[in-house]
């Protein structure tokens, strides 16, 4: 059971109410919790996926978007292998905050972290940010880009799978020692992700 080859830490960030928790819930539990309350501090989920026949364990840290928890959430960036930056396509302000978030990531996260920009809530009718705007932004800042809908389960699976694939690629091409179950998770830094070319859109 504990035969996963890789362990990756994925952290979700973004303004309050953009749907980070819903994305995680949809992916880990396959459900869309209506009326999900605001996350406090940070939440934790785990999911093991299979990539090329190898098991990859994703530790997903779902952070609170509220400003007041910023200091504790920042402390989670550091050990992340991938950061998912989420905005709400029907809410311009959440998009406008992206530069701030990038600054924060720049400051607190590992500079080789894999960054993915996600425009959530594609199911909404009242789209405010066209797809290409998000794409441009992602490209400019060297991020992957994806639009999702946690409600419709659109692209959610793909999002996490692509992260897993990409991280595994990086880990493999760096030929870093693989995550080896016998050492145990307590060994901390399991597979550190190399500085793959994150600038290309997948």
């Amino acid at each position: 059971m504990e035969d996963y080859k890789f362990l990756f830490k994925v952290v979700l960030v973004g303004n309050a109410g953009v749907g980070k928790t819903c994305l995680v819930r949809r992916f880990t539990q396959g459900l869309f919790p209506p009326g999900q309350g605001a996350t406090i501090g940070v939440d934790f989920m785990i999911k093991t996926v299979e990539v090329d026949g190898e098991k990859v364990k994703l530790q997903i840290w779902d952070t609170a978007g509220q400003e007041r928890f910023r200091s504790i959430t920042q402390s989670y960036y550091r050990s992340a292998h991938a950061l998912i930056l989420v905005y709400d396509i029907s809410c311009q302000p959440t998009f406008d905050c992206l530069p701030d978030w990038l600054r924060e990531i720049e400051e607190y996260a590992n500079n080789k972290v894999l960054r993915i920009l996600v425009g959530n809530k594609t199911d909404r009718e009242d789209r405010e940010i066209p797809r290409h705007i998000g794409e441009d932004f992602a490209q400019r800042h060297g991020m992957y880009f994806l639009e999702t809908s946690a409600k419709e389960a659109e692209n959610v699976e793909r999002l996490f799978m692509e992260i897993a694939v990409e991280l595994m690629e990086q880990a493999k091409c760096k030929e870093l020692p693989k995550y080896d179950g016998s050492l145990g998770p307590i060994n901390g830094k399991t597979t550190s992700v190399g500085d793959g070319s994150c600038c290309l859109r997948s």
């Binding site: 059971m1 504990e2 035969d3 539990q29 309350g37 605001a38 996350t39 406090i40 501090g41 940070v42 939440d43 934790f44 989920m45 785990i46 530790q59 840290w61 609170a64 400003e67 007041r68 928890f69 910023r70 200091s71 504790i72 920042q74 402390s75 989670y76 550091r78 050990s79 050492l183 145990g184 998770p185 307590i186 060994n187 901390g188 830094k189």
Partner: protein, 837 residues
């Protein structure tokens, strides 16, 4: 069931047997053979599981397993590994009952095993804990935490270098923030999270080799998690609720206990790493306003921290006072936050004071003053929040000083007064300077209030007193009042000040506490009394005085009367009283109200003095005057009034000479009590009017402060005064155009000649008196310059004597020349002293 399991397990086997069994994929493989082939430890482990999880751990089999692992500890790691695998699978299949049993078994093994052999087992144990924590089931998470805590309480004697706790810190912190819908569940998850953090702290804090828990990445998670739980408590019980097992059921309580433990274990280098997240958390969660929780938290920190480091908390908070200004948009909010922070500071600073020593004390004071100065600099008058901030800082200063030993308080007061902008600068200087001055004086007052005077000479070191008195002249009316209050608090040893807040003649009813003046105090008075008195006297002569100023000076004088009254000093005090009375009549700058006020306080003081001295005849005399004034001129008696507008000209103080205290009569009365009155019968050393001059040379300054060096220069001010006084009407009227009244004009027209003569006389007397009363230091100072004269004379004598010598007899014997020069000095040397007397 067991054989199904065994076939599954084979997958990750280690030894030969397992790899053999691996090939046995046929589910129908015979059970007996299978279990016989399995290693013993696996069979033992399998046997502890009951058929159905509700039955719980099979006790007897568990004992067997324990015994086995004790007797062959080298198998422990495999047992652990095997248990872990079983549990992982059970978690996956959601058979939580078996998971719980596996965990229980692991706990038991952990406790039973000797610590040397534990190391390997711990790896699987922790993997198991992590596995449980990763599940979404609260029950398993809590179970895992309990096991972890049990593990944390075991003292390991072999360090484990490669063990890492970052997952646990992250996960437990996340649990502390649990937002489970069901409140009891939420509380228990949070509780478990805190317990887990506590466990991690316990496990790592003492062991440098493991993981540095003080690193920012951990502290940034732990501290906010604890604080978050603490802040959700309905009310913050006042400190020291550390004990009490029942209370720990609540997350808030436990979080508090945990924070105490954490802070208590922090060494000097680590304090900062705890404080930084605390401060950030308060900023982020906007917990400064209201600041109850901040105060509560910081008190906890102060009480739990190792005493010698408490100073660094104060320091950190102080440095944080100004932090984060750019974040909040509204500057008003920001100021308010700052004020709240300062209030927190004032709450905790006292706790630090007891343990602060040496330079750290002045450092704190200096820091506070710097903050005050910064506040004044950005102050915009109307900002009440800024005022609150300043008040809070001053309070902090006071609180801090309150807990310092007295000798340090004086040092601090010296320190503060040196920071006060000088009076000259304040006069022409900016408003900010005046503001700073008044604020620093307030701080000084605050510190002074905490000081308990024993000996006046200790409370007023010469430099301090001098600085205080010098400030008195130049400051604004408000600042002068504050200055007097400082004097009150330092002079008042017997809590008489409140009773003497305003002048009264009914001294008997005040219930004053009077004790005999000590020898040391008399020495103090003889040294500094004159300086003190003349400063106060001059303070009364300012036309900008309000009633408050006059009353404050009255209180000071009354306190001096009480503290210092004795046979030796009574003349000086009486002399001052008479001078005040006189000045009320002769000082042309004073308004009618001020004149009346001066009359009132002089009579009040005159009534107080014999009461203190218990001179009955003097009392009778004063009472007679009081009675007469009550008849004819109640405005010359206390209480003071703001204005005396409806006063008919005939009732002006200077029209009522028969209601004044008479110098000769007082002399006689005092003489009858056996007091040496020679000093009183001579003219007063106090001069009116000279304070009105911008360029002031009082004796205090000339002698002590400025250090004028020649006698010629000391007399010089007199001539300056003359020239200024000879045309007072023109100059002063110009200067004070705003308050020209009929009365002032009349004074200017009619008064000068008489007043002037008196002034000149008085000045002469001042000089005489100075030599009689001034302290030895001054005299020394004054006589010193004369050696210059001596030197000059000597030079002249020499030149005169040498000139005829040289041309007269070029071959004059050197011996003769020497004898001549050596004969001269004695004259010159003693000449000045002779001149002096």
């Amino acid at each position: 069931m067991s054989f199904v399991k065994c076939c599954f397990e084979a997958g990750e086997g280690h030894d030969f047997l397992d790899s053999f069994v691996q090939k046995c994929t046929d589910p129908g493989c015979c059970c007996g053979c299978c279990s016989a082939l399995r290693p013993r430890y696996k069979r033992l482990v399998d046997n502890i599981f009951p058929a159905i999880p509700q039955d719980g751990l099979v006790k007897t089999n568990m004992e067997k397993l324990t015994f086995y692992s004790l007797s062959s500890p080298e198998k422990l790691d495999r047992i652990g590994e095997y248990l872990f695998q079983k549990a992982s699978r059970d978690i996956y299949r959601r058979r939580h009952g078996f998971v719980i049993i596996a965990m229980e078994a692991m706990d038991q093994l952990l406790v039973a095993c000797h610590s040397q052999t534990l190391n390997l087992f711990v790896e699987s144990f922790l993997k198991m804990v992590q596995k449980l924590l990763e599940s979404t089931d609260p029950q398993l998470q809590i179970l895992a935490t309990q096991s972890f805590v049990r593990f944390a309480n075991i003292e390991e004697d072999t360090p484990s270098y490669h063990r890492r706790y970052d997952f646990f810190v992250s996960k437990f912190s996340a649990m502390c923030h649990s937002n489970h819908i069901d409140k009891p569940t939420r509380d228990s998850i949070r509780l478990a999270g805190i317990q887990g953090l506590q466990g991690v702290i316990r496990k790592t804090v003492s062991d440098d080799l493991v993981e540095n828990i003080w690193e920012a990445q951990h502290m940034d998670k732990i501290v906010p998690s604890l604080l978050y739980n603490m802040q959700t408590a309905e009310k913050y019980d006042t400190v020291l609720c550390m004990e009490g097992g029942a209370g720990e059921e609540q997350p808030a309580r436990l979080a508090e206990a945990c924070l105490r433990e954490l802070v208590g274990r922090a060494s000097f280098g680590h304090i900062r790493s705890v404080l930084r997240p605390v401060l950030t958390h308060f900023d982020r969660h906007e917990l400064w306003i209201p600041n109850d929780f901040a105060v509560h938290t910081f008190k906890i920190i102060m009480f739990s921290i190792q005493a010698q480091y408490s100073y660094s908390v104060v320091e950190a908070l102080m440095q944080h006072l100004d932090a984060g200004g750019n974040r909040s948009g509204d500057p008003r909010d920001y100021t308010r936050v700052r004020a709240a922070r300062a209030a927190v500071l004032s709450n905790i600073v006292a706790i630090a004071a007891a343990d602060s020593v040496g330079p750290s004390v002045l450092e704190i004071i200096n820091n506070l003053l710097t903050n005050l100065r910064a506040s004044v600099a950005r102050d915009s008058e109307k900002e009440t929040d800024e005022k609150l901030y300043q008040e809070a800082l001053i309070n902090a200063l006071g609180e801090f000083a309150d807990h310092l030993p007295d000798f340090q308080k004086i040092d601090i007061m010296m320190f503060i007064i040196n920071k006060v902008p000088s009076s000259q600068r304040a006069n022409k200087g900016t408003k900010a300077d005046a503001m700073l001055q008044s604020i620093l004086l307030k701080s000084l007052l605050k510190v002074g209030t905490t000081y308990r005077t024993v000996e006046l000479s200790k409370a007023f070191p010469a430099a301090f007193l001098e600085a205080l008195l010098r400030l008195g002249g130049g400051a604004g009316a408000r600042a002068r009042t504050t200055l007097q209050r400082i004097l009150h608090t330092l002079l008042d040893r017997r809590d008489n000040a409140p009773r003497l807040a305003s002048p009264t003649v009914e001294v008997c009813e005040l219930g004053l506490i009077v004790e005999k003046c000590s020898r040391q105090d008399l020495i103090f008075f003889s040294k500094h009394g004159y300086a003190l008195f003349s400063s106060l006297y001059e303070g009364l002569q300012l036309e900008s005085n309000t009633m408050e100023n006059v009353e404050a000076i009255y209180t000071t004088l009354a306190l001096i009367c009480i503290e210092l009254a004795s046979e030796e000093t009574v003349c000086d005090i009486m002399q001052l009283i008479l001078a005040i009375q006189q000045s009320s009549l002769s000082n042309p700058v004073l308004s009618v109200a001020q004149q009346c006020q001066l009359q009132a306080i002089s009579i009040s003081l005159a009534a107080l003095l014999p009461h203190v001295m218990m001179h009955t005849r003097l009392t009778d005399y004063i009472n007679k005057i009081i009675a007469a004034r009550r008849e004819e001129a109640p405005h010359l008696l206390p209480p003071l009034q703001e204005d005396y507008d409806d006063l008919p000209p005939a009732k002006m103080p200077n029209k009522l000479p028969y209601l004044m205290m008479d110098q000769m009569a007082l002399c006689d009365l005092l003489k009858s009590h056996g007091v040496d009155v020679t000093r009183l019968s001579s003219t007063s050393p106090y001069t009116a009017g000279n304070v009105a001059l911008p360029h002031r040379h009082s004796w205090v300054e000339a002698g002590a402060a400025q250090g004028r060096d020649s006698l010629a220069e000391i007399t010089a001010p007199g001539t300056e005064l003359d020239s200024a006084n000879s045309s007072p009407g023109v100059q002063r009227a110009n200067g004070t155009a705003s308050c020209v009244s009929l009365e002032a004009l009349r004074r200017a027209a009619g008064g000068p000649s008489a007043a002037e003569r008196r002034d000149a006389e008085r000045r002469r007397a001042t000089l005489n008196n100075a030599f009689r009363t001034a302290p030895f230091d001054h005299l020394l100072h004054i006589t010193q310059p004369k050696y210059e004269i001596k030197d000059k004379l000597e030079e002249i004598f020499n030149s005169i004597s040498e000139e005829p010598l040289l041309p007269g007899s070029g071959a004059c014997s050197p011996a003769a020349h020497k004898s001549y020069t050596s004969a001269v000095p004695p004259y010159t040397k003693y000449f000045p002293e002779l001149f002096l007397y």
